[in-house]
């Protein structure tokens, strides 16, 4: 793919050029949610339409969703992509992070109103580390007994774990308040000219999340390029051989789980800060599956791939909402007296499903795979061996 080649070429550039290119890229990312930016670029403005700008949904909100999904896929990429542990219930950790923040920062949390554990809501910033820590703990607690299980069994156990969290969250009379949820969740601090910086507008949250992603990428890269990352890949490649080469496999698998969980929890805390309201409907299994598709669509075992995948799984369906506007597609069709809704809005998940299949058929290693992994698959193609 040309993007890959381009990347390679960029990495060949001298340092100053690379840094300024990186800086330019960052500025671009920070400008993305602004409508005027697209207009300025002169991208054709049709009937209040800009091709990249999502017309049916607030661009900043879409981008914010992208960012927290990207964080999730970064976390899951550690677990699935690097350590090779199939986790189907990753959204559970997101739920832990989100609920911790909601419980601690909302004045309507049952911790205040019913149990009187807290005197007053805590600030968001204090709740975030607690949320991350508890997600990490949840990862360890889940991993400790289950990481001895082999691949697909691990998958169903993690899936069960996420469902269990959802079922607990669903109980109306329990602390998480079920479907009624917890409103008035705290926001990040900071104000501009007396107005709180973080309120309903998604833009500041997007910028904040962008910074968090940059930090997360930096830290995960440190890990991946160290003994830890090598241990993970070794475990993924051949767990027994890794153990015989002196890799404490269980410990590193647990670490992968814990780190993935912590990043997932972090994503949850950010989201809760913006969402203002947390209830049990968000934590359905579909979301875990969506994040997994993000990782594999982008390219497992590659940070850039996880980011690309996380962006696309949100952006494609959201963008498809706007497509109907652009091309003036019919919304409904009548066949034999019955009317069917064929608007891209309602079919967008079907379209997304087709995209998943097509991408996997033509790029089984994902859109932006790890170079080595891609090479390996090319290699496998040549072999006569029968697929597993």
């Amino acid at each position: 793919m040309s993007a890959l080649r381009e990347r390679l070429r960029i990495s060949n550039l001298p340092k100053p050029a690379r840094y300024s290119l990186g800086a330019l890229g960052l500025v671009f990312l920070f400008l993305l949610p602004n409508k005027w930016f697209y207009e300025y670029l002169g991208i054709p403005l049709g009937f209040a339409y800009i091709p990249l700008y999502t017309t049916k949904n607030d661009m900043a909100s879409v981008l914010f969703i992208c960012t927290w999904i990207i964080l999730l896929s970064l976390g899951l990429n550690v677990v699935v992509g690097y350590a090779g542990l199939l986790d189907l219930g990753f959204f559970g950790f997101f739920a832990v992070g989100a609920y911790v923040v909601a419980l601690l920062t909302s004045p309507e949390s049952k911790l205040l109103t019913e149990y009187n554990w807290l005197e007053s809501p805590w600030p968001w910033l204090v709740a975030v580390p607690i949320g991350i820590a508890l997600s990490l703990l949840a990862g360890v607690l889940l991993g400790w007994p289950t990481l001895r299980l082999r691949g697909d069994y691990l998958a169903i156990v993690t899936l069960g774990f996420a469902e269990m969290i959802r079922i607990v969250a669903k109980q109306q009379d329990w602390i998480l308040n079920g479907d009624r949820g917890i409103p008035e969740v705290g926001h990040p601090p900071g104000s501009v000219g007396g107005e709180p910086l973080f309120s309903f507008d998604a833009k500041p949250y997007y910028w904040l999340a962008l910074c968090v992603i940059i930090l997360a990428v930096f830290l995960i890269r440190n890990l991946v390029r160290s003994r830890v990352g090598r241990a993970w890949v070794a475990i993924r490649e051949d767990e027994d051989a890794a153990e015989l080469m002196g890799v404490p496999t269980f410990r590193f698998k647990l670490w992968a789980f814990a780190i993935g969980a912590a990043v997932g929890g972090l994503s949850g805390t950010l989201w809760a800060g913006q969402a203002n309201f947390v209830n049990s409907t968000t934590f359905s299994l579909e979301n875990s599956i969506l994040v997994l598709s993000a990782v594999l669509l982008g390219g497992a075992g590659n940070i850039a791939g996880a980011i690309l995948g996380g962006f696309l799984v949100i952006y494609i369906p959201e963008w498809l909402r706007s497509v109907g506007d652009v091309f003036g597609l019919p919304e409904t069709v009548t066949v034999g007296g019955s009317t069917y809704d064929i608007s891209p809005t309602s079919l967008r998940f079907a379209i997304f499903g087709i995209v998943l299949i097509v991408v996997m058929i033509f790029r089984p290693q994902g859109l932006w795979p790890n170079r080595r992994r891609a090479a390996e698959i090319q290699h496998r193609k040549k072999e006569v061996a029968v697929g597993e």
């Binding site: 300025y40 607030d58 900043a60 309903f200 409907t281 968000t282």
Partner: protein
């Protein structure tokens, strides 16, 4: 990728030139080309509960446009899939489109928590046809209106019906763990008192197998079930109860007061089932609504379609009256007082956005011969 570089370069120069703000959002011809938004689950699992409402609005607007060909109103949909985490962005997007002057929705209570806060900032008047969580009217939102009675009116009324009219001795209470279902049963339980409740259980959305609950109901000996929840589950549940030979009566709220309940459960099994509704029985006008709806969408109107139709017509009436801004329409709602043609409810709002309690009449409907037949108004005490 080359584009990427170009874009990045352009950004640098862009810095100062942020001035080209959004193009002509002309305020000229006021009441034409305005938009009414519909906000709720249009895809995803809960779409069945809100698509009828969207259709109701769609019908109202197309009828309006038919009569006012020179100055039409446009329908804009916001598909939140019913989930609060998607609601924020869509609400922001709706707020930013200044042509949208009115909103029907959000459909569910959860997303309402998120979206209404944003609408309130944007002063965008919203009437929900279906979110019945009582606390929504206590948040201080000026734009919030509820087109139906909340859980506090319907739950106790249903309970009074079971207790005083049906004179049941034992009732089995079930809710589906949604905000709506749980709210309804919580309020109803207060009326029943502990002695009357033969047992309690909870179902979940998307559940299709109710064997465990059916068994519990049967062994409890209760002849009346109060079900707080929606048709999707209630119809299956009732059907499975009947298949296991249960002969009692199921009582539910407006969540089951739709034709799917009749058709999915089947005439024989559903016969005698009671659904309460904070709406008066059909007027003659309701007849044309059902026929029009069926003509346009090839299906029978389902839950909240009539309410949404009426609510959309209220906004359209305001627009016809020359109320072309959000503020004007919100004021218009404040003083509105008329009966809706499809639902028969008189729409008159309190300052909090709740329907005037005097207008909230709760009626009991009985499933009889393949239709919901009005039985009686439930006494207020």
């Amino acid at each position: 990728m080359r584009v990427f570089g170009g874009v990045a370069a352009a950004v640098l120069i862009a810095g100062s030139a942020a001035a080209c703000k959004a193009d002509s959002e002309d305020g000229g011809s006021a009441a034409c080309g305005l938009k009414i938004g519909v906000f709720g689950a249009l895809s995803g699992d809960n779409a069945g509960l809100f698509v009828p409402a969207k259709n109701g609005v769609d019908l109202a607007i197309s009828q309006y446009n038919e009569k006012n060909k020179d100055c039409t109103v446009e329908l804009t949909t916001f598909d939140s899939q019913g989930s609060p985490d998607k609601a924020g962005g869509l609400a922001t997007s709706a707020s930013q489109d200044t042509k949208i002057v009115a909103m029907i929705g959000p459909g569910f209570s959860g997303e309402s928590e998120v979206a209404n806060a944003i609408f309130d900032q944007a002063k965008l008047p919203a009437i929900t046809p279906s979110a019945t969580r009582p606390s929504l009217s206590t948040k201080g939102w000026k734009i919030f209106h509820r087109g139906v009675g909340n859980d506090l009116s319907q739950g106790p009324a249903a309970a009074r019906y079971i207790k005083n009219v049906m004179k049941a001795e034992k009732v089995y209470v079930i809710n589906d763990q949604t905000a709506y279902g749980a709210g309804l049963t919580d309020e109803a339980k207060k009326v029943f008192g502990a002695g009357m409740i033969a047992g309690e259980d909870k179902t979940s959305e998307k559940q299709t197998d109710f064997a465990g609950t059916v068994t519990k109901v049967k062994t409890s000996g209760a002849q009346v079930i109060f079900y707080g929840g929606y048709t999707a589950e209630a119809s299956l549940f009732l059907k499975q109860l009947r298949a296991q030979g249960w002969t009692g009566t199921l009582v539910g709220g407006d969540g089951i007061n739709d034709t799917n309940m009749l058709s999915v459960t089947g005439q024989k099994d559903v016969e005698g089932t009671i659904a309460t509704c904070p709406c008066a029985p059909a007027t003659n006008a309701k007849g044309t609504f059902v026929a029009d709806y069926k003509k346009k969408f090839s299906v029978d109107p389902a839950v909240y379609a009539d309410v949404a139709y009426d609510l959309a017509n209220i906004f359209l009436e305001g627009i016809k009256d020359g109320k072309s801004t959000r503020e004007d329409l919100n004021t218009f709602l404040g003083s509105y007082n008329k009966a809706g043609s499809a639902s028969g409810v008189t729409y008159k709002w309190e300052a909090s956005g709740e329907l005037d309690p005097a207008q909230v009449v709760v009626w009991a409907y009985e499933a009889k011969g393949g239709a919901w037949v009005p039985k009686q108004e439930i006494p207020k005490s």
